[in-house]
Symmetry: C2
Subunit: 476 residues, 2 copies
């Protein structure tokens, strides 16, 4: 690959996702086909999220794809946020529809209309639902995985008796995402709250996790919204307390999408292709068998792999595509990001020796076959940690605390600016011109060290009020 990650990041990203056969273009602009290696990684991410969502006491539902247009219009902010993005069905079954139907851009309105039916008494609360679904938002500037017209996600929706409980759910969700993204995807994130103008349409608070991509641009990795009681009026959601008083429950919603696949590629990928952290790789280790003199070596190897697959929770795969050169075969699996390769021939088999090639640092180590399961366990752990640490160092190299707003205006390179900001509107417009956006008010408890230089400083915009630690970056 002559295009390098450092040299031309956008071209590198495009070439990696097509070369590693993660994706293909669909015939409708902004839509894509997700191919097996990417689907398998996504399924692993889904499983990791789903386990934790179930532990939060959330139940899985399937809600419909189509929403009457009038539903979207019930919530003023919501329709303003989504109207320009929706795809509308006007004809069906051979005739035109009385009321147009919208393909869900998100399911708040459909789910709230059901909450109104399902919630009557305090006994019905909390009500916690989740669905895995495709949604459609018409993208003007689509980009594979990151901003596609159709995308796949999980959307959680909950209703609680008190705002305190709802706030707790919002935090629990964002921390659940943080756990999966940091500990499985090996991507460090910065947690914070979106400023008013960047909030989800209709939400009181939007919590976000911001990741630092390979080029220093920010990516919103997952969000969790406190909707409060705002949607309750439009959808008549009420419950009776133990004392028989009619109250509005406090609502939340939270989601993570196939965009995480894009983040994974942009953060860990290198000039050879993608790099998949062992914790979420569909295949842990591929054994590349050299063509031997007899078939016995292949049979023996198959047995070994069956044994390893049984003994461990890892996934071992055998490559016997002898028709390709050994170099082609090594590159094939490297491109697809498989964490480890075993190189194997009759000689190695006879001597009980394995050469392990490690994806992320390219190192080769030779070991005896005896303790291979334990060794691989350790190597997985090390690669997982190394990927996280490298991504964290990368993120840190972009952090730039400043008390001057002019620094941002002057800067041409990508940066993760940490500034003090009170929320004054002036600054939003000014930084928009050179392409900067306010990512979030940084969580001050979680990121003490990161914000230490600017905490309690006057706002870099108005220079009057004391500002809050704020992350400013260019973003996807």
């Amino acid at each position: 690959m002559s295009i390098t990650k450092k040299g031309s990041f956008p071209e590198w990203y495009q070439s990696v996702i097509f070369d590693a056969k993660l994706i293909d273009n669909a015939s409708v602009k902004g839509c894509y086909i997700i191919r097996p290696q990417a689907v398998a990684i996504w399924n692993n991410i889904k499983n990791e999220l789903n386990k934790r969502i179930e532990e939060m006491g959330v139940e899985e539902y399937i809600f419909p794809l189509l929403i009457p247009q009038s539903f979207l219009e019930r919530e003023k902010d919501h329709i303003e946020g989504f109207a320009p993005e929706v795809a509308v069905v006007t004809h069906a079954g051979g005739s035109s529809l009385k009321e147009p139907l919208v393909i869900r851009p998100t399911s708040e309105t459909i789910i709230h209309s059901l909450f109104s039916k399902w919630i009557n008494s305090w006994r019905d609360l909390p009500l916690k639902v989740n669905q895995w679904a495709n949604v459609v938002r018409w993208e003007k500037r689509p980009r594979a995985f990151l901003r596609s017209t159709e995308f796949w996600w999980q959307e959680g929706h909950t209703a609680h008796a008190t705002e305190e409980e709802a706030r707790n759910e919002v935090l629990q969700s964002i921390m659940m995402y943080e756990d999966v993204i940091q500990n499985r995807l090996a991507i460090p994130t910065i947690r914070g709250k979106k400023p008013d103008h960047e909030r989800f349409a209709g939400a009181e608070e939007t919590h976000t996790l911001e990741g630092c991509m390979g080029d220093g641009k920010a990516l919103q990795m997952a969000t969790s919204h406190l909707l409060g009681v705002g949607f309750c009026e439009q959808f008549s959601i009420h419950y009776r307390t133990k004392e028989n008083i009619l109250m509005r429950p406090s609502l939340t919603s939270w989601g993570a999408t196939t965009r995480l696949l894009g983040a994974l590629i942009m953060v860990h990928g290198d000039d050879k292709g993608i790099v998949v952290p062992p914790a979420i790789s569909p295949v842990t280790c591929v054994s590349i068998l050299l063509k031997g003199e007899d078939d016995l070596v292949e049979i023996e190897m198959k047995n070994k792999i069956a044994l390893w697959n049984k003994k461990t929770e890892k996934n071992f795969l055998l490559d016997t595509s002898y028709e390709h050169s050994i170099g082609e075969r090594i590159y094939h699996w490297e491109k697809r990001g498989i964490p480890f390769q075993f190189l194997f021939g009759k000689k190695e088999m006879d001597n009980g020796i394995i050469t392990i090639k490690i994806r992320d640092n390219g190192e080769k180590i030779t070991t005896t076959e005896e303790n291979i399961v334990e060794i691989l366990e350790k190597l997985c752990d090390e690669q997982q940690k190394r990927l996280y640490q490298r991504a964290l160092n990368h993120q840190k190299s972009f952090l730039y605390a400043t008390d001057s707003f002019n620094d941002i205006m002057k800067m041409e390179d990508e940066k993760f600016f940490i500034i003090s900001w009170c929320g004054c509107k002036e600054i939003i417009k000014k930084i928009k011109e050179p392409g900067w956006t306010i990512r979030c008010f940084i969580d001050e408890n979680k990121h003490k060290e990161m914000i230490s230089d600017i905490i309690n400083m006057p706002c870099a915009g108005c220079k009057e009020k004391i500002g809050k630690a704020t992350l400013v970056a260019r973003a996807y």
Copy 2:
């Protein structure tokens, strides 16, 4: 429940699916919300199918929801089959589209357009893809699970170098469905081929599994289609053989849908609610704890359940909803079809005794706690077999072999007629009036006994040619 399965089947079905909270109505006609217990069963069915699909060497893809209308029009039979059923997006992103987009009613056209790109040489074959997706077909007479406007399914699509290989894939797929439906869902099926007028739009052959529902009506449980080379012309799908000759590959497609949930309910359900076979029940056994004098019993019980869940692959659940009466609690779980209930109090705990209530036959047995894991294993096996046998007896009671076409015209009750038919068109029209449909030409090898009375008999329609064993029934 005063509505009985025997007395008024359609009302019974409606009341069961709503009472057991499997489903709710959506705001768009013909669309439904699938609720947690039904989603959990569907997820188990998915897992059972997916395991087998993977073993067939099929890879999972995600294909787009929206298809340009022109794609559907490329295949004449295909467009005729689906045009009256599609939902059409004419507006998106705030303006009208140049070319309308269709919400996929099935994905042949989109996948074949990709096959044309992905298949070049014999090395690219066989190509086997599968996706789990929602599809939309505008239903005039929707019915929950059985015939909903939006439904969820798995669709497999394959391309092979030879027709023989494709035929083999078609058979392997239908047998894979048979395995899951018979051995997991405990539903006996009749395997056969659809006659010309009932085939999938554009297919050369459609293989089907027909199930006998609680009321004696037939339900098409899964289908597998030999598409052959017909679609190749329209989508320019070709490959070069080893000898560099340009050939058309032979295509197949096969699918199973959320309709299987409807079948499960209609076959096994009773007047108390649904009955879920142990092999696919999300919960194997619910332990209903009676309110004791102290909390220790509850803690002890929780520990036991944690241990059982660890020791076995079954799923044990604890019900501590003391606020409801014991009768309500038992009924709650019966309605939802959980295979076993443990009834438990301090007395039982002290004596190490468990009373097990069995869902399908209502029997109660008392046993010591010691060998509970082994006992439950045996009880699961027995209940699974009993459900299958009962369904098989039920199916048999509807079978009715006849050499006279008049028998069908006279019959008012539901029947599974086995007749000899040569394919002559006369008969199709005639039986349509009283509501009968030709389900399939029965697989003569598989169902030797079933067809023994009419094999090699003259066609019951034209009385001239020798007919094939044919299943005729009223159907969903």
